[in-house]
């Protein structure tokens, strides 16, 4: 765990009328990059004034050499400020934090992402490629994303299966229907998933029924990111868990999915 002054190497904006918008921030952060594992996250200081007040958590999207990259959506004031960062700026990054994915030996494995949930799964996918583990990656979106973002993902991960709710890219439908369709052809040895709660919940019930081990990367409000404030708890089946320290990756069966 390192508090590092990282340098912005590049920021790419995947923005276009009618697409889901993403931003890709590449940082020179050699110390964090050296330690980072797929599924871990960083806490980014977004401003030098006090509004926004807290750091913002982001999964590591990829980690190559001395660089780490974050893929994020602009949803509020913090990410808005971040989207203005340009090459050369220095930003304070705390990481790598939390426990990452536990890579299973069996395959095939499936990586199931919803929206910005692609971020930790991309890093995981690169790692699986390195390890020679075969996997499929399914990405669910509300509507299409810009082609060059898809190109980037192809480059990192090979082919991927896309579902959009409005059918504007890939197959039409929810990512969960994609999973079920795929399941008709093949049973996975394990699933790693990241995305909105309803998606993860649906997958959790389904994998339980089908008896497929699943790891999920969850989100919650955070303050410290290092286990000190006890603010980021999430309800597990056997009590509260600190998401920043015991997670953000959990086994699906540890989590209390009914709320």
């Amino acid at each position: 765990m390192i508090l590092e002054t990282a340098k912005v190497l590049e920021q790419r904006h995947f923005i276009e009328e009618g697409t889901e918008n993403f931003h890709l921030l590449t940082l020179f952060a050699p110390n964090i990059a050296r330690e980072a594992k797929p599924g871990q996250f960083v806490m980014v200081k977004v401003d030098y004034t006090l509004d926004p007040f807290l750091r913002r958590p982001f999964s590591i999207f990829f980690c190559e050499g001395e660089k780490i990259a974050l893929l994020y959506k602009m949803v509020g004031k913090g990410t808005n400020l971040m989207s203005n960062w340009r090459g050369g700026e220095e930003v304070s990054v705390l990481g790598p934090l939390g426990r990452g994915f536990q890579i299973l030996p069996e395959f095939p494995q499936w990586l199931v992402a919803g929206g910005a949930g692609i971020a930790p799964l991309c890093f995981l996918g690169s790692e699986l490629i390195k390890k020679g583990v075969s996997f499929k990656i399914i990405w669910g979106l509300r509507y299409k994303v810009r082609e060059d973002l898809i190109d980037l993902l192809h480059e990192k991960l090979g082919s991927l299966i896309i579902y959009t709710e409005d059918g504007s890219m890939g197959y039409q439908g929810l990512v969960t229907s994609g999973v079920e369709a795929l399941y008709e052809k093949q049973k996975p040895a394990g699933i790693y998933a990241c995305g909105p709660w309803p998606m993860l919940k649906a997958l959790a019930f389904w994998t339980e029924k089908e008896n497929i081990p699943m790891q999920v990367s969850l989100e919650t409000q955070m303050a410290c990111g290092i286990g000190a404030c006890l603010g980021c708890i999430i309800e597990g089946k056997d009590g509260y868990k600190k998401l920043c320290q015991q997670g953000p990756v959990f086994k699906a069966e540890e989590i209390k999915w009914e709320r």
Partner: protein
């Protein structure tokens, strides 16, 4: 210019510098140990500790607000026994003062905690009185001078350690409460605790916190806390530890100039884990620049 003295004395507690980290924002020290040198701190106030472990409030427990943070942790903690066995040995390795923040739901619980902690080798107790009194049906101890006095007395009778009473800001007359604590034997008071507050998500129309209400902390509170410290120091000789919204050395100096003998940094640790060290360095550089040899010459030096 010779060596600068940063050492201060707050009641019977001697600190090598006036910069402490606040309860609940620094865990048990171990979480921050990979990020900063704990030896440099004036002291560490550990997470609020009760007789038995406490599970705390349902999520969500945090919400960011303008220049601040709402929290409803619900005093989750591992209980005093586990603290002594699992957390204290690590803390004792460092050359810094260890202050344990204690709370209970009856006077007896406070007294029992004081007794248990008395001979564990910690350096002081901070008594968090912002808890509902379950005997009287939930009225918060901190708002009644009589109850604050009773708790303080019960604690002081069971311990030889310096005792600081941590005050809640939501009172009409903070000076009366501080005096009640002192008359009952406290070494000083620390203030402020977080301020009762809430937030609403207008799209779901639900409270932002699982507990509906919580405590506000952060820079948004600083001007209020500073005024409360000022109210106490100009009406008494009570040693005060100032808390609330400190994010840099200037904020810390504001409290010291007004008259606080030491300060605690809370939520800002989240923003910048190294803030406490930067504050110590900043104070030192300030004294050098102004050619002041002793931090005690700054304390209470407000020009009115």
């Amino acid at each position: 210019m010779g060596k600068i003295n940063l050492g201060v004395k707050v009641g019977r507690l001697e600190l090598k510098n006036p910069v402490l980290v606040a309860s609940g924002t620094f865990g048990y020290g171990e979480e921050y140990a990979p990020l900063i040198d704990l030896n440099q701190l004036g002291g560490i106030v550990v997470k609020g500790t009760s007789l038995k472990p406490k599970i705390g409030n349902p999520p969500p427990r945090l919400a960011e607000v303008s220049c601040g943070l709402l929290n409803a942790i619900g005093l989750e903690n591992i209980g005093v026994e586990q603290f002594i066995q699992e957390k204290l040995p690590f803390l004792k390795k460092f050359d810094t003062k260890i202050i344990v923040n204690i709370f209970g739901f009856s006077i007896d619980e406070y007294a029992a905690l004081a007794e248990i902690l008395d001979t564990t080798g910690i350096d002081a107790l901070e008594v968090n009185v912002s808890c509902p009194n379950i005997k009287t049906g939930g009225e918060v101890f901190a708002t009644d001078p009589k109850m604050v006095a009773q708790i303080t007395q019960a604690v002081c009778q069971r311990t030889h350690l310096p005792v600081f009473v941590k005050l809640s800001p939501q009172v009409t007359d903070i000076v009366a409460i501080a005096k009640a604590a002192m008359d009952a034997g406290a070494d000083g008071v620390s203030l402020i605790n977080s301020f009762p507050a809430m937030g609403v998500d207008v799209f779901t129309r639900k409270p932002k916190l699982g507990n509906i209400t919580g405590g506000l902390s952060g820079p948004c509170l600083k001007p209020i806390a500073l005024k409360m410290v000022w109210d106490i120091v100009r009406n008494s000789n009570i040693p005060v530890i100032g808390i609330g919204g400190i994010t840099n050395f200037e904020d810390a100096l504001e409290y010291l100039i007004v008259g606080a003998k030491a300060i605690q940094i809370g939520s800002a640790n989240f923003l910048n884990p190294q803030v406490s060290i930067e504050v110590i360095k900043g104070i030192k550089a300030y004294l050098e620049r102004h050619e002041i040899k002793d931090i005690n010459m700054i304390i209470g030096s407000l020009k009115t």
